[in-house]
Structures are given as C-alpha cells and as structure tokens.
C-alpha cells in the first residue's frame, strides 16, 4: 500500500469509506433523512454521490421517522444486508432508543445467536455552533452501558475512513458518532487508508508525566492544551480512545501505569459519564501504583446552553485541562 497522503476532512473521508464499501460489497446499504442526491446527499453532504452511483434502492432517503429508519435497518441487517443508517443528530436517537437498545443490540443474544444485526448507525453531535439544548448532546455513555452495541467516536479523517470500513464489515451493530469539528477540519490522510480495527486506542503522542485520554472533537482541545503543557515542562502522553465500547483497556492501563497519572477528558457530561468507567477500572487495576487519582473533565451538569458565552463556559477548554494536568502532575 502506498503511504501517499492527501489533505481531506472527515466528511470526505466518510464519503470515501461509504463509496469504497458500497463498491466492494453489494450488501452495503445506506438510509436516512435527506441522504440521497435528490435531497442533496445529506444535510452536510456526507452521503453525496452515493445514490447517483449505487441507485435509489441501496441508498434511500426516508421520512422523518427514526423508529422506522432503525427498524428498516434492523430487518435488512437480519436478512443479510449491511445497512448504514443515519440518525441525523445524536439527540434524535432518543426517539429510536427502543429499536437500538431493545432490538439492534439484543437480538443476537435473545435469539441464541440465530439473528445477526450487522448495522452501523451514523450520528452527528457536539456543541460549539449555538444549536442549544436539543441538538448537541453526547450520549455515548448510554450506548456503552447497553450490551451488544459498539461505540466509536473518531477524531481524524484517516480514522473515520478506517473505522467506518471496519464497522460496516463488523458482524454486530456499531454506532459511530461524528462530532462537529471532526467533519470539517482537513488533515493529512493516507490515500489508500484501509480498515482500522475497532477496539484499539491510538497513542498519538508519547509522554512521561501524565496520560491524557480523550476522543472525538475534544481531541482538538486536548492537543492545544498538550502543546501548552509541554511549554510548561509537562510531558503528556496522549491517547485517542477512538472506540469507547469495548474500550482498549490494555493500552490505557499500560500508559497510565507508565506515567502514573491519568486524566480523562470528554465533551459528554462528567456525572455518570464515560470517564467514570475508565477511572473506576484504572483505580482498581492500578491500585497503589498511581501517583495521583484518575482525573476527569467533562461537561457540567446542565443542558447545552445557547449563548456563545455560556457555550464556551460549558465546553471543556484548554485552560481547564492544563490546570487539572498540572494539579495531578504535582502529586505523587
């Protein structure tokens, strides 16, 4: 494989992954609101060109009916297809939770392995665009807590391409969360990016003083903070978790043991958030081996606010990461 790279953004990478997957496997389907070219190829254009190339039967726009979307995806998956279903925004998964949780995630188990539900749910979310309380929530913790569905939140375009290729061929349901900025920021991406296995974290920067773990668009914030920490003489090892469930315990534990400190940062609410599971596991496995408690940063306990000023205060920002990393680094 060539190691040539091009600049592309997440949107282009997902589009390329869907194109390749549909080309290679006639069982791959795409459905969702406005996703066909007749409707403009998706509200932000992720699915542009697919229906023109693969036809209206494999790439179907739907009514506004998330239960119907997920139901159609589940049935088609059980019949041998590999549907990629879009739930436009993560807050709208709330109207499809029965289909996702009681059915997609459970039918393999409840049928004793007779039913396979190899589908992918694509959904977009994230604060930062003043869309307020019903359009920007991160609910990955709900799905991580639900047995039978995998949860993926990529950061880079290369990961989007590689993780989508894997998720589509995965025999089980996978929800992939596209977080705002990750769709639009161009990055160097291998031209021939192939599948990247689910469940593997990526150590994006080595470090010695503290491990900082994050995923999705929050990685941009973390990278900014890490640069400033380096200037302050603190060497952070940065982990992009990529798959939140099942998560890569091995990589995370090895890094936390090495640096002796772990800080988990996510955009989801801190209370009962994904970071709690990571902290709980790490404190147990590395009991007595850490120099500081596992730190967590996440959204405060409130809805996403509208006003830009409040939205900025709501989101974890570099100074908060820096302060917390320094506090932990000073311990032990």
């Amino acid at each position: 494989m060539s190691t040539e790279t091009v600049k592309m953004n997440g949107l282009q990478a997902i589009n390329a992954a869907l194109m390749e997957a549909m080309e290679a496997d006639p069982k791959v389907l795409v459905l969702g609101e406005d996703i066909a070219d007749r409707e403009g190829g998706g509200v932000v254009g992720v699915t542009r060109g697919l229906s023109t190339k693969f036809g209206d039967m494999r790439v179907r726009s739907t009514p506004i009916a998330e239960q119907a979307i997920m139901g159609a995806a589940i049935g088609a998956a059980m019949a041998g297809y590999k549907p990629v279903a879009e739930i436009m925004l993560m807050n709208f998964t709330t109207v499809a939770m029965d289909m996702i949780v009681n059915h997609a995630a459970k039918l393999r188990f409840m049928s004793g392995g007779q039913s396979q539900v190899p589908l992918v749910i694509r959904t977009l979310t994230g604060a930062g665009n003043q869309t307020a309380g019903q359009h920007a929530d991160f609910y990955e913790a709900w799905f991580c807590h639900t047995a039978g569905i995998k949860v993926v939140i990529p950061w880079t375009p290369a990961d989007f391409k590689g993780l989508y290729l894997s998720a589509i061929q995965d025999p089980d349901p996978v929800i992939i969360v596209e977080s705002g900025k990750t769709l639009f920021v161009p990055m160097d991406t291998p031209v021939n990016q192939g599948p990247i296995p689910l469940g593997k974290a990526n150590v994006v920067a080595p470090g010695t003083d503290i491990t900082i773990l994050s995923y999705g668009q929050m990685m941009f914030t973390v990278m900014e903070a890490v640069g400033q920490l380096a200037e302050a003489g603190i060497s952070a090892e940065v982990i992009d978790l990529r798959t939140i469930s099942p998560w890569d315990k091995e990589t995370v534990l090895a890094s936390a043991e090495k640096t002796g400190r772990l800080l988990v940062v996510h955009e989801a609410g801190k209370n009962f958030g994904p970071g709690a599971e990571i902290a709980a596991t790490v404190q147990e496995t590395l009991f007595g081996k850490l120099k500081a408690p596992v730190g967590r940063l996440g959204a405060p306990y409130c809805s996403v606010p509208f006003a830009k000023k409040l939205e900025d205060a709501f989101l974890v920002q570099p100074p908060a990461i820096i302060a917390e990393a320094k506090r932990l680094a000073a311990m032990g």
Partner: protein
C-alpha cells in the same frame, strides 16, 4: 369508509383442511402450555392466544417457508401456524439449551429463521418497523417474498405503528400489517384507548388498502390475506388487515378478567373459531369427524413429544452469558 374486497379468493378443500390443521395444532399446543404451567413445570409468563387461532392459520397457508413473520409476546400461535417445529419451541419455553434460542429468549422471544419466524418482540408496536427491513431486503434480492407483521389492537396506538405504515407505503414494501384485534389491550377496552371505530380506517392515512375482517372466520381471513399477499408479491405495496377476534384467557395466564362482564366473555367464547370451523368442514363435506379427530390426535401427539423432548434437554451453561452478545465470544 374502510375498503371492501371485490374479488374474494376461496380456499380449496385441501387448503381448508390445512387451515384447520394449523388451528388445532395451535389449540392443542396452547392447552398443553397452560397445563404445564399449572403443574409448575414451566415458570414463565404466558400470553395465551386461545381464540385467535384462525388468523395466522388462514394467513400461513398462503405463505412459503421463506416468507417471513415478525410477531409479538402473544405470538406462539403465529409461529405454530407458520409450522415452526415444536421440539425447539418447547425446549425454548422450558429454558433449555436445545431451545431455538438456547433458552435465552423464552416464550416471549422465539426466533426460528428456517420457518421464517424472524423476530418476536415484547415491546408493543416494534414488530412493524423491523418487518419493513425484511421487506426491503426482499425487494433488493428480487424475490417475491413477503413479510407479515403481527400486532394487537392496542399496538395500533403507538408511534411505531404510524412510522412503519407510512414508510412501507412510501417505499411500496411487500408487507402485510395484520392487527389481531381482540378488543382489549391488557385490561383496557378497545374504545378506551383507540379513537377510531375500525383500525382499518387508519390505512386511509397511509394511502394503502385497509380491511376489517372477521378474524374468527377462516374464509374471510383467507380471502383478504390472499388479496394482500398478491398485492405485496406484485410490487404494489403494503396492506393493513384488521382481524376481529377475542382472547379467551385474558391478557396473561392467571389474569383475573375483572375488566369485562361475564356475559361479554360468554358471548365472545360462543364464537370460538375452532368448533365452528370444524362443524363447517364436516357440514360442507371437506372432512369427516374421524379425519378431524385423527388430525387432532396427531397434533396432540406432536405436542406431547415436544414436551417430553424439552423436559429431557439440558439447561444452558453459564458460559452462554458470554456468547451471542457479539459474534465473537466475550472473554471470561
């Protein structure tokens, strides 16, 4: 205002007998289930369909093995009508590893893809959106397969019903939506939960045909199912069939029935589809009483064999909790 069928298909003698065979197989199976529960040999909640035998029987004679059904907790009659073998069925409701779902699903959640029993859901309304997915797959496969979605009258008031019927109509899917209207949703009388006198009228809102059928009359169910299945197989899209019937055993086995009058119940039970159809078959010379008794004995023997089989099967091992969550076993 509801539609009227002009061209009524009539089942020939063999088909009529086949309908009765299915009905008596359901009835004997149901009777045996209740007996086993009474004796404490089965401990699960059981939703008897005694009284509703005619509906899936008159439909299933029109279906092939590869035609699919999605049904509900009160659905064992639908499976037996579809000629699901009784041994794996009984092993399942007895929680044994030789059950069709290895004992993980139980009586509310049987699956048997070989006979087209694809999904049995415990969530009111959820059979319908998933049925659409199988129908979409059939269109993609280019087969003439149809999918039947069974549900109750109460289920016609939940959102999933609406989303599924609308999508099926817009996509012209080969689905038959069969409402088994037994006049009650748990303890709630039809008119106290449903705002229209005939559920079939809701079909108008989805631009599809809707029929109200005597669900205790095999010929009426057959004629309408025939039209609906023809329509689906020829690519014209879905149909809503409302089959009026009654459940003789209340909502769940052991239910007090305090929410209906004795007279009402007695009247409904006087319309028991089984003796009525038996008499009709004899009167019209389709079968002799002896032939029917033989059929009944055969059904009973099959049920008894299945019970014996089930009771002799092993319980699943605890390792099953780590299997079928994903395709790959969860490590211990």
């Amino acid at each position: 205002m509801t539609d009227t069928l002009t061209n009524r298909a009539v089942p020939d003698a063999a088909t009529q007998l086949d309908i009765y065979r299915r009905m008596i197989r359901i009835e004997r199976n149901d009777d045996a289930t209740r007996t086993q529960i009474r004796r404490g040999r089965i401990t699960a909640p059981y939703y008897s369909a005694r009284g509703q035998e005619c509906i899936p029987s008159a439909i299933s004679v029109l279906l092939n093995d590869d035609d699919k059904i999605c049904t509900i907790y009160r659905g064992i009659h639908d499976m037996v009508a579809k000629d699901m073998p009784l041994r794996p069925l009984w092993a399942e409701i007895c929680g044994r590893v030789d059950g069709t779902c290895k004992g993980k699903g139980g009586p509310m959640h049987l699956t048997h893809p070989e006979t087209g029993v694809m999904v049995t859901t415990g969530i009111v309304g959820s059979s319908m959106p998933i049925a659409n997915g199988f129908a979409w797959a059939a269109l993609l496969d280019g087969t003439k397969q149809v999918t039947v979605a069974y549900f109750g009258d109460g289920a016609s008031n939940i959102g999933a019903f609406h989303e599924a019927l609308n999508l099926a109509s817009v996509w012209k899917l080969p689905v038959i939506f069969v409402c088994q209207n037994n006049g009650f949703a748990e303890h709630t009388r039809y008119e106290n939960g449903t705002s229209v006198d005939q559920i079939s009228k809701r079909a108008i809102g989805y631009g599809m045909p809707g029929y109200t059928v005597d669900g205790n009359d095999p010929l009426d169910v057959y004629a309408h199912a025939h039209a609906a299945i023809e329509r689906a197989r020829s690519g014209e899209g879905p149909t809503l069939l409302e089959c009026k019937t009654f459940r003789f055993m209340g909502h769940v086995f052991g239910d007090a029935d305090g929410y209906m009058t004795k007279e009402e119940k007695a009247e409904a039970m006087a319309d028991d589809p089984l003796p009525k159809f038996r008499q009709k078959l004899i009167d019209s010379g389709v079968a002799t009483a002896d032939q029917i008794d033989e059929m009944t004995a055969k059904a009973e023997a099959e049920v008894n064999d299945a019970i014996e089989f089930a009771m002799s099967c092993e319980y699943p091992s605890d390792d099953e909790l780590r299997r079928d969550v994903f395709a790959e076993e969860i490590p211990a």
